[in-house]
């Protein structure tokens, strides 16, 4: 009996690993290897890598990402605490709203920043860092908050009873307990900022470039594929190193505290918590609210005063897009739903593999790499790798959700791995001793405990797929644009109607995001309550 379980365990583990490996191999490694081989042609690009200009760009890329990550953590933690530990009316809405900036096209947000910031601050490092915080606070709130919400509060109560001050409880209990989630959120934020593109192009101007920006210019404007491939490899290597470090931190911090079901953790604000909650929400309302309000205002500001003209234009044919604009909602939803499905399958299998055996760190790193790959090189790779039968996928509709899932899967892995590691093995052992077969253990022990993080992961994956632009714009067919692609097409054209339609589409994108994330949260948190 025991032997048989062990055998299916090994086989099952191999199956767990096989699907993510095959997915990454076919849709990530193969296209990138194809474009790198074309670009480099066998010679090692020492000249490009050790060029003074390259070193300068690498240095800027690293330090701005480090600074952005630190600021994002500082800005996101209070909000993560508020949405995880305090029960207040509208908590679910705040949780869903936080994701909105994350899906907005960077061009739109950067332009909104230009409009809000005083002229002396429009260009340079300050606006870049501010915009990075604005975009990535969602990652901290969702990843850290989702984990925080499931830490059993009885420890904190015990510490409080024993006389530990709030600050001591935070230092000695909260921070160590949150370490796995903090490591995951920092890694994701860092990667996003490390590969930042739209924010840098607009708020940095021509004097600032990250590796990603330089690769884009080399690949699409100068057409120096050799240099583009060399810098892409450099970027991937850097990302690989960062991920390896962060996942080893995360694994070492591996939850020693038992996780509970969320509803136990949050309760009404008491004494000092009340002003802290109010202050946190007020700061968030201003920081998020102002740029978003500016966008919303623009969508109603027609030539004849406030009105719905730009929303009505969504249903009409226009020379600026090959289909009526509202169709982009349909395509976005379909692509994002498919991408979420793929990312959940791939990501959950990979996370299950990591949680059950610690030796698979190379796969852990591999799953994260798509976040660090240059979108344009991956796009070019798809175009030349999949051009002949039986791999003739250039026209296939499903290539879009596949590439979106590549970007979303790392989030699923990062959210699920700490949660799966955190399941107390004694629970499983107890169930097994009581005679539950492995399938039942998974269904009745693992699933309920993982359901809430699965919902968080699904919501975030969906949001990422909705907002993904860099690779989607490369592969989505022009008669099937997603919302960000359609917004971009309108922004590229002059005239009030085009700019207004872009603003209206942004508002639609925000609404769709809040709805989708809210639904994912609600579905999973209700059922998680037993």
């Amino acid at each position: 009996m025991l032997l048989k379980h062990k055998a299916t365990g090994t086989l099952g583990r191999a199956a767990l690993v096989a699907i993510p490996v095959a997915f990454l191999g076919l849709f990530f490694v193969y296209p990138l290897a194809t474009i790198f081989r074309r670009g480099l042609g066998g010679s090692f690009p020492t000249d490009v890598l050790f060029d003074r200009g390259t070193l300068h760009i690498v240095w800027f890329t690293i330090w701005q990402a480090t600074a952005s990550t630190a600021l994002t953590l500082a800005a996101g933690l209070p909000l993560a605490w508020a949405t995880a530990r305090v029960a207040f009316r509208g908590r679910g809405l705040v949780r869903a709203l936080v994701v909105v900036p994350f899906v907005l096209p960077t061009v739109v947000v950067a332009t909104a920043f230009l409009a809000l910031l005083p002229e002396s601050m429009q260009r340079g490092v300050v606006p870049i860092l501010l915009a990075h915080v604005f975009f990535n606070v969602a990652v901290v709130v969702r990843v850290v908050g989702g984990y925080w919400a499931r830490l059993d509060p009885s420890l904190w109560d015990a510490a409080a009873t024993l006389g530990a001050s709030p600050s001591r409880r935070f230092r000695e209990l909260t921070l160590p307990a949150l370490r796995p989630a903090l490591a995951a959120a920092s890694a994701l934020t860092f990667l996003f900022c490390f590969t930042s593109f739209g924010v840098i192009v607009i708020l940095g101007g021509p004097r600032f470039a990250t590796l990603e920006v330089d690769i884009y210019d080399l690949a699409t404007q100068t057409f120096d594929l050799r240099a583009a491939a060399a810098l892409s490899l450099l970027q991937l290597a850097a990302v690989g190193a960062i991920v390896a470090v962060s996942s080893s931190l995360e694994a070492r911090a591996g939850a020693r505290l038992p996780l509970a079901v969320e509803q136990l953790a949050a309760r009404r604000a008491r004494d000092w918590e009340r002003p802290a909650l109010v202050a946190t929400l007020a700061v968030a309302a201003v920081g998020f609210g102002l740029p978003l309000a500016a966008l919303i205002e623009r969508s109603f500001a027609t030539a004849n005063g406030a009105g719905l003209a730009f929303y009505r234009a969504l249903g009409r044919d226009t020379p600026s897009l090959l289909v009526a604009p509202w169709r982009a909602v349909e395509y976005s939803l379909a692509y994002a739903a498919a991408a979420t499905g793929i990312a959940l399958v791939v990501g959950a299998l990979a996370a299950a593999a990591f949680a059950s055996q610690r030796g698979s760190r190379w796969l852990d790193t591999a799953v994260m790499l798509p976040l660090g790959a240059s979108a344009v090189m991956l796009g070019y790779g798809f175009v030349i790798a999949f051009d002949t039968s039986p791999l003739d996928f250039r026209d296939a509709v499903w290539i879009v959700p596949v590439v979106q899932a590549l970007v979303a899967a790392p989030f699923v892995v990062r959210i699920l791995t700490p949660a799966m590691r955190g399941i107390d093995p004694r629970l499983r052992e107890a169930a097994a001793v009581l005679g539950a077969p492995p399938a039942r253990v998974r269904r009745e022990i693992d699933l309920p405990l993982v359901l809430r993080p699965l919902g968080v992961a699904a919501g975030l994956a969906f949001a990422i797929a909705l907002g993904e632009f860099g690779a989607t714009v490369f592969l989505a067919r022009s008669d099937r644009p997603t919302l960000p692609v359609a917004i971009f097409r309108f922004l590229e054209r002059p005239g009030a109607t085009n700019q207004g339609t872009a603003a209206a589409l942004c508002v639609v994108l925000m609404a769709v995001t809040v709805l989708a994330v809210g639904i994912a949260d609600r579905l999973t948190s209700r059922r998680g309550a037993f």
Partner: protein, 348 residues
């Protein structure tokens, strides 16, 4: 949990399977590969499809530079049959890449000689336009300052910090404007002297949409502060057409002496799956029907002679008679060197 995975996998496989089925290429279709600024009205597209019996599919592969580079990358195994959107600035790169098969459409006789830039007819002209300094009329009226008339005006007192230009390394209009200064000042040191004198007064953006929609004060978004921008000669017509209400005057005007001519060409991609359909499509791009639709869809001008222009164009953006130009060969030979000279002069 494993069952959940099985179900989810099955769903994903079903989605993928269904979409493979849906994506099977239509037997009789022709594919146009182009850039993001390409546009065609539904009725014109339908007219082509009825007349040729072919379904027209359009692939928009980024801005003009990105779309061409992607075509070069897939040379010989093209993503479609016809490529539209090589301009005079990129012509030498496109021809050097052996991307196209030669074809001389009958309608080419209707096109003015000046636009026929590739005499081997691997590429044939479809539309033309111009990149110019464009200014905000209301701003100059309110500040009682004479609007600019020439390049040299930007050096005059009162013009400090009024202008937005795009980076020629990353933007097609930016490249055209740099070429305009070279065409105007000559190819020696003079253009760089000019640029070094104005560099403190111009704001450089990486792309046109930031320059026009966020930094320029005259666009309908009203977000910017600077009243002069490098943009398209058709902006006055576009601003009136897309204003959302009737206007008797355009909010922006063009500095005609600073315009650099742009011609966009199309060709049949070598290795096209449907070369016969490709020829029909090129013929159609030069037909009266398509040419007449060019102004109000792409906001450039038809190359075919005697094509009527819409009233909004005649009134607010009449065609440019003789803009500044440089030969495609000159541009091809010097483009990269000029861009680095510009970068060293303006950004360092």
């Amino acid at each position: 949990m494993r069952r959940a995975f099985v179900v989810a996998t099955a769903v994903a496989v079903a989605i993928v399977g269904a979409s493979i089925g849906a994506a099977a290429p239509v037997a009789r279709s022709v594919v146009l590969v182009t850039h993001d600024s390409f546009a065609i009205s539904k009725s014109t597209k339908a007219a082509f499809e009825t007349q040729s019996g072919l379904k027209l599919r359009i692939l928009q592969n980024g801005d003009a530079g990105a779309a061409l580079n992607r075509a070069l990358l897939t040379a010989g195994r093209p993503e479609g049959d016809v490529f539209f959107g090589v301009d005079n600035n990129l012509l030498s790169r496109a021809l050097g890449g052996k991307l196209f098969d030669a074809y001389t459409p009958a309608a080419l006789t209707q096109v003015e000689r000046a636009y026929d830039l590739d005499l081997s007819h691997h590429l044939v002209p479809i539309d033309h336009g111009a990149i110019c300094l464009v200014y905000d009329r209301a701003w100059f009226a309110a500040h009682k300052l004479r609007p600019p008339y020439t390049f040299e005006d930007l050096l005059r007192p009162g013009y400090a910090k009024l202008t937005v230009v795009e980076n020629p390394a990353t933007s097609t209009p930016g490249l055209a404007f740099m070429l305009a200064t070279i065409a105007h000042f000559g190819s020696g040191k003079a253009p760089w002297t000019y640029w070094s004198r104005i560099k403190r007064d111009v704001l450089v953006t990486n792309g046109w949409d930031e320059a026009y929609n966020a930094q320029f004060s005259g666009s309908s978004s009203h977000k910017g502060k600077r009243p002069i921008v490098v943009s398209y000669s058709s902006d006055p017509a576009a601003e009136v057409y897309f204003a959302g209400k009737p206007r008797t005057q355009a909010p922006v005007a063009v500095v005609r002496n600073t315009c650099f001519g742009q011609v966009e060409l199309a060709g049949i991609l070598r290795g096209a799956k449907n070369p016969d359909g490709a020829r029909k499509l090129v013929d159609f791009l030069l037909s009266q029907r398509f040419q007449a639709g060019i102004p109000l869809t792409m906001f450039v001008y038809p190359v075919r002679g005697r094509t009527p222009l819409p009233a909004v164009f005649m009134r607010f953006s009449p065609p440019m008679s003789s803009p500044l130009t440089l030969s495609p060969a000159t541009i091809g030979a010097n483009r990269d060197a000029w861009i680095s000279e510009w970068t060293d002069t303006v950004l360092r």
